[in-house]
């Protein structure tokens, strides 16, 4: 405000730009126009005046010659008419009259009166003889000849009059004309000089601004110079002074760099570029906007997430960049200068839906007018993780509730009135026991699969005799196989090396595969367990001729809690954890598991475990 008051008081132009201007600056201000330009303009003006004078002189000379010619022609006609009158009144006296007439015209040099047949009737001067002078006005002055018929009363001609004149040079434009031209030229020159001086005075502020900016940018001067208020450029001066007020205020806030430091500036520019480059590589979109709600900066990620280039975003109003349901709360928070906030919004079609999280980092409380930052983050992966966690919990609670329900319901039945018969009581005990076991297995499986997945499972590595392990597992399942009349067989390679691994977990792996095979194979089927030794690996295969797995289910059977939706599968109890655990155990031993299956014909699960080099 202080500076604005000063500006509003007009100062004399003659005082120069401002008291603050240094002598060097004042000298520089005197050169609004380069002097050669002024001299050149004056020369052009002078040359124009001279040229105009020359053209005027030439035109006047030509007009003089034309007037001489017209005059000679007129005199010849008048003489011919006078001779006609003389011939009419007194033919004899006509010759004398001819001589007298010719004597009256001082510019006449020769005259001839020719008869109609061409012979000379009279000549003046009488002594002159010989050839007539050349016809027409001589170039550059001299003699000119004109002819006219001598009229005769009653029609016809009494001959032809031929006069030869001598005209001098046409009169040149006089000294008056030259004087007039000189006066006009002088006045024009003075007028030009006055205008030139006026222009110089009025354009001084522009020159000052230009040079001041240049000096400031080069680090030569630290302070801008305030301008005086002239009539024509007062508004510009006012704007300039307002601007340097702002710069001063920023300096006081410590925002502007106080010291001119070219090396430091270069470093800062480098750092600025580095910073912008880093911002572009952040996995976070950034938009900066000010009080006018226009984007002043956008990094590359913001452009990608919003489907435009970062350059396109800059300058756009927020209403064109963000959906209204995002923009309004963000701008509301900005205007209230509240703490950081975030909004999640889904985008895109259902199958490719992404979730963007928009956040606001408001301007610091110390600078309420400063620009705020909008952060944009693709949180689709977080939502995916949330969904996976929810899905896991959903399945866990679902699986736990079923045995719990049975235990609670049958226990209550056992203690309830009216269920005293022995058969019901035995049924209740059996269900409670089996469901308790089921619950226990389930909890163990859930813990196992979770620990294996996140890598926190405790592994007890030791030497494992797979032949012995397989024989034991098959032996344990013979009873279940017999119940369904399933032919459970074991085929072992002749020489099987022992491997390093977790015996307990490998046992769970093979038990799950054999148990599944027996569960999903109808009565009277076959389940074959084989162990083959290859050069670098061992393969344990469990093949059955059971219900098989549909092609669309095959990619998912190793996922936690996945169970095929077919009624045949759903009719059989299961949690969908056995195969997930099997795969994790196989991978824990550096191997993997694969499935080949044809619906209605059976399935074959093959576990491949690597052998140490030279171990085969």
């Amino acid at each position: 405000m202080e500076r604005a008051d000063r500006v509003s008081q007009p100062q004399s132009d003659a005082q120069g730009p401002a008291p603050a201007a240094s002598p060097a600056t004042a000298r520089r201000w005197g050169r609004v126009f380069p002097e050669p330009l002024g001299v050149g303009m004056a020369a052009v003006l002078l040359a124009g005046l001279i040229g105009a004078g020359a053209v005027a002189q030439r035109t006047l000379t030509q007009q003089g010659r034309l007037a001489q010619q017209t005059e000679g022609q007129a005199v010849t006609r008048v003489f011919a008419a006078a001779l006609g009158h003389l011939v009419e009144h007194d033919d004899a006296a006509a010759a004398t009259g001819f001589q007298q007439l010719c004597g009256y015209e001082p510019r006449l040099r020769a005259a001839e009166w020719l008869r109609p047949d061409g012979s000379v009737r009279c000549r003046w001067p009488e002594a002159a003889g010989g050839a007539a002078p050349a016809a027409g006005p001589a170039p550059g002055g001299g003699q000119a000849q004109f002819s006219a018929p001598v009229p005769k009363a009653g029609g016809g001609a009494a001959g032809t009059l031929r006069l030869t004149f001598h005209f001098g040079q046409p009169p040149l434009p006089g000294a008056a004309l030259l004087r007039d031209c000189a006066v006009v030229g002088l006045v024009a020159l003075l007028g030009f000089l006055a205008l030139y001086r006026l222009l110089r005075r009025h354009l001084r502020p522009l020159d000052a601004i230009q040079r001041n900016l240049h000096s400031y940018a080069s680090g030569l001067e630290r302070e801008f110079v305030a301008l005086s208020l002239s009539d024509s450029l007062g508004h510009i001066a006012q704007c300039w002074n307002h601007m340097i007020d702002q710069v001063q205020r920023l300096r006081e806030q410590g925002v502007a760099s106080p010291a001119p430091d070219p090396a430091g500036d270069a470093l800062r520019r480098f750092e600025s570029r580095m910073l912008l480059s880093l911002l572009d590589r952040l996995p976070l979109g950034l938009l900066r906007f000010g009080a006018d709600q226009r984007v002043t900066y956008a990094n590359a990620v913001a452009g990608r997430l919003l489907g435009r280039s970062a350059q396109e975003l800059v300058g756009l109003p927020l209403s064109e960049v963000l959906d209204e349901d995002v923009r309004a709360p963000l701008v509301g928070a900005y205007s209230r200068a509240t703490a950081a906030m975030s909004i999640d919004r889904k985008r895109g079609p259902e199958e490719q839906q992404t979730t963007l999280r928009f956040g606001l980092i408001p301007a610091p409380p110390s600078c309420p007018d400063c620009e705020a930052l909008v952060t944009i983050e693709d949180v689709s992966h977080l939502q995916e993780a949330d969904r996976a966690r929810d899905n896991f919990l959903y399945h866990v609670t679902h699986e736990l509730r079923t045995p719990l329900t049975n235990i609670q319901a049958y226990a209550e039945t056992l203690t309830g009135p009216g269920f005293d018969d022995e058969q019901t009581r035995r049924e209740c005990y059996n269900v409670i026991i089996s469901e308790t076991r089921r619950l226990s297995r389930l909890v163990e499986d859930i813990l196992n699969v979770s620990q294996l997945e996140v890598g926190t499972a405790r592994i007890e590595v030791g030497e494992v005799d797979l032949v012995r392990l397989l024989r034991q597992i098959v032996q344990d399942h013979l009873g279940a196989a017999d119940e369904k009349q399933i032919d459970l067989t074991l085929k072992l390679a002749p020489k099987v090396p022992k491997i390093q691994g977790d015996k307990q977990r490998l046992s769970v792996l093979i038990t799950n595969l054999v148990g599944n095979a027996l569960k999903y194979t109808p009565n009277g089927g076959r389940v074959a367990v084989t162990l083959e030794v290859h050069e670098r690996s061992l393969e344990i295969a469990v093949a059955d001729n059971g219900i098989g797995i549909a092609p669309e289910d095959q990619p998912h059977v190793f996922e936690k809690f996945y169970r095929a939706a077919s009624p045949e599968v759903q009719a059989i109890k299961g949690t969908g954890l056995g195969l997930a655990i099997a795969r994790e155990v196989a991978r824990l031993h550096g191997g993997d598991i694969r499935l080949e299956s044809t619906p209605g014909q059976g399935s074959k699960f093959t576990v491949e475990l690597p052998l140490p080099a030279g171990g085969g």
């Binding site: 919990l393 959903y394 609670t397 679902h398 509730r401 079923t402 719990l404 329900t405 049975n406 235990i407 609670q408 319901a409 049958y410 209550e412 039945t413 309830g416 009216g418 269920f419 019901t424 049924e427 269900v431 469901e435 939706a565 077919s566 009624p567 599968v569 759903q570 009719a571």
Partner: protein, 139 residues
């Protein structure tokens, strides 16, 4: 006494519900999934329907929706569920007059709920025949 259709894929739960309701003198019909239940309803409209939600084939919510669309809704509706969002399910089904019973449940309390429904709606078997029996309807 009422004709009650129980739809549940777990055989033990199905069995214990039948035990309690039969002891109360109801005629109980059993189905293992929604598809089977729908066919049974088409054959004979039960007075009360008790159904699980998560079942193979057709789930309980789908079954209720289809019965409603076909205007074959029994007068008493009870939904059993082991889903953790059972409160939201209850709120969404409140307008249909559906009672949602979360698992694990007490069979005595379920039996009490059925008794109240039976009394409120005055749903009685016309001749008493079949009361106290479990009618297993395998489809």
């Amino acid at each position: 006494m009422s004709r009650i259709l129980v739809v549940e894929d777990d055989p033990h739960i199905l069995r214990v519900i039948s035990l309690w309701l039969t002891r109360q003198g109801h005629q109980v019909c059993e189905a293992r999934n929604g598809l089977a239940a729908r066919e049974l309803v088409q054959q004979q409209m039960p007075d009360i329907l008790i159904t699980d939600i998560n079942m193979p084939g057709m789930d309980g919510l789908k079954l209720l929706e289809q019965l409603r669309n076909e205007n074959r809704t029994p007068r008493g509706l009870v939904v059993l569920t082991n889903r953790w969002d059972h409160r939201e399910i209850g709120e969404s089904l409140a307008n249909w007059g559906v009672h949602v019973v979360p698992k694990p449940f007490s069979p005595s309390k379920l039996a009490e709920l059925i008794r109240q429904l039976d009394e409120q709606q005055c749903v009685k078997t016309s001749d008493g025949t079949g009361a106290g029996e479990v009618k297993t309807c395998e489809l």
